[in-house]
Amino acid sequence: MMKRTIPVMIASIAGLVLVVAHFIPPAQSWADEVSSWFQILAAVAFILGGASLFKIHLQKISDQRPGWGYSALTIVAFTVTLIVGIFKIGVPPSESFPSMPWSGDYVGDGGVLWWIFTYIFTPLNATMFALLAFFISSAAFRAFRAKNTEAMILLVTATVVLLGQTYAGTLLTGYDWINPHLQLKSIVDEWLMPVFNASGQRAIKIGIALGIVSTSLKVLIGTDRSYLGNEE
């Protein structure tokens, strides 16, 4: 009982404070206070997250389960990054306090953490992001196969938008003898995007906004407690 009631009360009070602060300027400081509590909670939870990560990967290494080498690499990377960050290894002192070796910013240029970030983390991140280009192609190929009427409409619309948004549209239809309103670029810019696309998007957004209001209200008044687990 208490295990559910107290979290619901905390969620309700914090939520109400944030709602009230949106309309009453003097209550803004309360909202800032609630946000600070959340930051503190998140920081403490990060220790739990780190501990969980360590435990799971150490278990995997200990049991020699398939792929344990990746776990070892994860543990090494995590530990090295944590140590070089905490101890500011290789970080030059701040210009304001040159005699104090630890006065520099922990991500300051020249430090080991900076090196890891620039030469390991950033390229790896970019690599993952670059995969998106290939996935867009494969997803588009599947989605645009004209297997039924809806897919056919999708294919035609997508082709028109694709051509209209690129130089191909101007190249194909951008001639003086074609009415400017019938040129591909105009069809896309003046008609398809601001009329059909925008109205569809707005309808979805209004639905989302009402859904957010309803879900938030149910959480605030404790009607929906399923985020705390099933009660039955």
Binding site: I47, I204, G211, V219, T223, D224, G229, E231
Partner: protein, 420 residues
């Protein structure tokens, strides 16, 4: 003879020295124009400097207004005014202190470092390209910031929110009293049972991703709500459930939720805490971890419910490549097309938030959906009214109707109302 030659040599030397000296003499000596730079004249000062209380704040800000300097011409080249410097003081005995500056063609500055108990005088100076200041112009009277207890710019939003909330509460209450509401079928949510059943039959795990935002995001809360239902089904069917999270707080919440669901299903022994684990806060690091696990363990069912960004398609395409049945739901409109293209079922916008009510079938929760429908009707009515007023304004060009349209657009339907 020799003396005469020496004398000529001397005269020649004197003549050369004289010519060189004359050449090097300041040209001003010969009445020519000076080559020295003149001190540039300062620009004309700004005028009508005044300060007003900044609206809808806690009494910590004042707006300072002025009319542009006569030399601050919009397309002048070179510019005679580069910026305006703003100074303030609290009493007549104090010196003016700088509080900020604005670039040319700006007529307003907001001083956000005020205190509601103090009054302030302001002084504005136009500054030329070489830093030459104009005459300072000050406010005629001191101004004191005031605390506003209601943010009037959000008044319409507040009214609309109140109406929608009241409708939701009303229908929840009616549902509690026994009114029954019908709800249309949502194929994506009907397929949750099928997906978990399929995973059980294939002996492969179910994977649940609750987005990449923290638990303070309502989409993550909605995702965790659906997780509780999915966890109940996996407990019932004895299927394995994997929940990698990108936030530590989501991990702790998800663990509590799944554990409670397993307990409610009478299978606390089947709960595996280590299957709900934290990976990293980093977007693509998280994606790499999740997709790696997908490729290794080939889950039979993948659920994506929460707040997603660019990672949505990478996750869904990887799930597709391992042959998983995939159900997704998000309120991030830009990611919906990716999920629609790559997943078997997608909950679009409000369907995602209706999932909890739909899956639980609790009357009180179903009542909230009816309240949402009422909100939609109100929204449609306001939009229709806006269209009607805009049409009439376009046809009649009447000033009063134009003013009404402006009010509707910028208050009831605009940023202060329907689109906060």
């Amino acid at each position: 003879m020799r003396n005469r030659r020496t004398m000529w040599r001397w005269w020649g030397t004197i003549a050369v020295i004289g010519c060189v000296s004359l050449w090097n003499m300041p040209s001003v000596a010969f009445g020519q124009e000076s080559t020295e730079t003149e001190t540039p004249s300062p620009p004309a000062p700004p005028s009508q400097v005044m300060a007003k209380d900044a609206p809808n704040d806690t009494g910590t800000a004042l707006d300072v207004f002025w009319e542009l300097s006569a030399d601050d011409v919009s397309d002048a080249i070179p510019r005679r005014v580069i910026r305006y410097e703003i100074f303030r003081r609290k009493s007549l005995n104090e010196e003016y202190q700088p509080v900020g500056e604005q670039t040319y063609q700006n007529k307003k500055f907001t001083d956000t470092q005020c205190h509601p108990d103090d009054s302030y005088w302001y002084q504005v100076v136009a500054v030329g390209p070489n830093g030459e200041p104009s005459t300072a112009v000050e406010t005629p009277t001191p101004t004191r910031p005031r605390v506003q207890y209601i943010d009037t710019s959000r008044l319409w939003f507040g009214i609309e929110l109140f109406v929608v909330c009241a409708a939701i509460l009303y229908y929840i209450e009616r549902a509690r009293k026994g009114d029954s509401f019908t709800i249309r079928h949502i194929p994506g949510l009907d397929a949750v049972d099928e997906a978990v059943g399929r995973a059980t039959e294939m002996g492969r795990p179910c994977l649940f991703v609750a987005g990449i935002e923290d638990i303070n995001d309502i989409q993550t809360v909605a995702g965790v709500t659906i997780l509780s239902r999915v966890a109940g089904l996996t407990a019932q069917y004895d299927a394995s459930l994997i929940v990698p999270t990108s936030r530590s707080l989501v991990m702790t919440t998800a663990r509590e939720t799944v554990q409670s669901s397993y307990l409610a299903a009478g299978r606390p022994d089947a709960y595996r805490e280590d299957n709900i684990y934290y990976l990293t806060d980093e977007q693509f690091g998280y994606v790499a971890g999740v997709t790696g696990r997908m490729m290794r363990e080939k889950p039979a069912a993948c659920f994506y419910f929460g707040h997603f960004y660019a990672e949505s398609l990478i996750l869904a395409e990887t799930g597709n490549s391992v042959g998983a049945i995939q159900i997704a739901g998000t309120a991030e409109a830009s990611q919906l097309p990716f999920f629609v293209a790559a997943c078997d079922y997608t909950l679009i916008g409000e369907e995602f938030f209706a999932a909890s009510a739909y899956l639980s079938k609790e009357p009180a929760q179903l009542g909230s959906l009816k309240g949402q429908d009422f909100g939609k009707m109100c929204g449609a009515a306001i939009l229709l009214m806006g269209c009607l007023v805009a049409t009439v304004a376009g046809l009649t060009e009447n000033d009063a109707i134009d003013a009404m349209l402006d009010y509707l657009k910028s208050n009831v339907l605009g940023n202060g109302g329907f689109l906060p």
